[in-house]
């Protein structure tokens, strides 16, 4: 299977680039970033606020079954050019990983396909690597849970 999503992160740098090609027309892909009710469906967080315009801001939240906030993120939109570009900040209030600058570029490939390039700049190399670490630890836990299920172990 081809790899549709690519992550490029150079050692010792404080940024990374994520690219992804979609089987979606450019306008449809862009729409997924604009409409709060759509964003909610694929981001997996409640969209409490999303003003898709220059100087607009947004607020995302995830709560547990008891209604306690377990994840909250917010930011300000710096540039909003429909079907082309979004620049925004992103900050998790529930974790001290600083603020990141996100530059999204949307491109038309064919009538039915499009490409997203996400350039993310962190405050420091350490903060970028912390996020890799977080997913890595989650990843090894998930992988082993799957492995154990497969092997029928119950440890």
């Amino acid at each position: 299977m081809e790899r549709k999503t690519n992550v490029t992160a150079q050692d010792g740098k404080q940024d990374l680039v994520i690219t992804r090609e979609f089987d979606l027309p450019l306008e449809v892909l862009f729409q997924a970033y604009v409409e709060p009710d759509i964003v909610e469906q694929w981001v997996g967080a409640k969209v409490l606020k999303l003003e898709s315009k220059k100087y607009g801001n947004y607020l995302l939240e995830v709560s547990d079954a008891q209604g306690n906030t377990i994840f909250q993120a917010h930011g300000v939109i710096h540039e909003f050019t429909p079907n082309r570009k979004i620049i925004r900040t992103f900050e998790m209030t529930t974790m001290s990983l600083g603020v990141q600058l996100e530059i999204y570029e949307f491109e038309k490939l064919t009538e039915t396909t499009s490409k997203l390039t996400m350039h993310v700049i962190y405050e420091s190399v350490e903060q970028r690597d912390e996020l890799f670490k977080l997913q890595f630890v989650k990843g090894i836990n998930n992988a082993h849970n799957r492995l154990q299920k497969f092997a029928g172990k119950t440890s």
């Binding site: 759509i38 090894i140 082993h144």
Partner: protein, 111 residues
């Protein structure tokens, strides 16, 4: 040739280190803050001795480093070592891949 042997040693050590659920739980615990052996052991029902054995295995794999601070020893995750694993950023890529797959599925349904 030498390089290959070294790679094998690294992956075996790391694989052994993460092969036990308690050790994975320890890694998750200290991923964001350095902790003393006692503080780590408090999170487990196993004996302090058992926990310290797991910490030792993690230390030997160099996935975990220790730092002396006064009379206390603190253990923390060694990001540098983790970068030696070929697919250190793979879980991060996978997370985004899953998220984008979902985006694609949601939008296809609406089309």
């Amino acid at each position: 040739m030498k390089l290959r042997i070294r790679e094998q040693e690294i992956s075996r050590d790391i694989f052994q280190a993460i092969a036990h659920p308690t050790r994975r739980a320890i890694l998750a615990l200290i991923a964001f803050q350095a902790m003393t052996p006692n503080a780590i052991a408090d999170h487990f029902d196993s004996s302090r001795q058992a926990v310290s054995k797991h910490i030792r295995i993690l230390s030997e794999s160099e996935l975990v480093t220790k730092e002396q601070n006064g009379r206390e020893i603190y253990y923390q995750l060694n990001a540098q070592k983790m970068k030696e694993i070929d697919d250190f950023i793979e879980p991060f890529r996978k997370m985004w891949d899953d998220r984008f797959n979902k985006l694609e599925a949601v939008m296809k349904k609406r089309q």
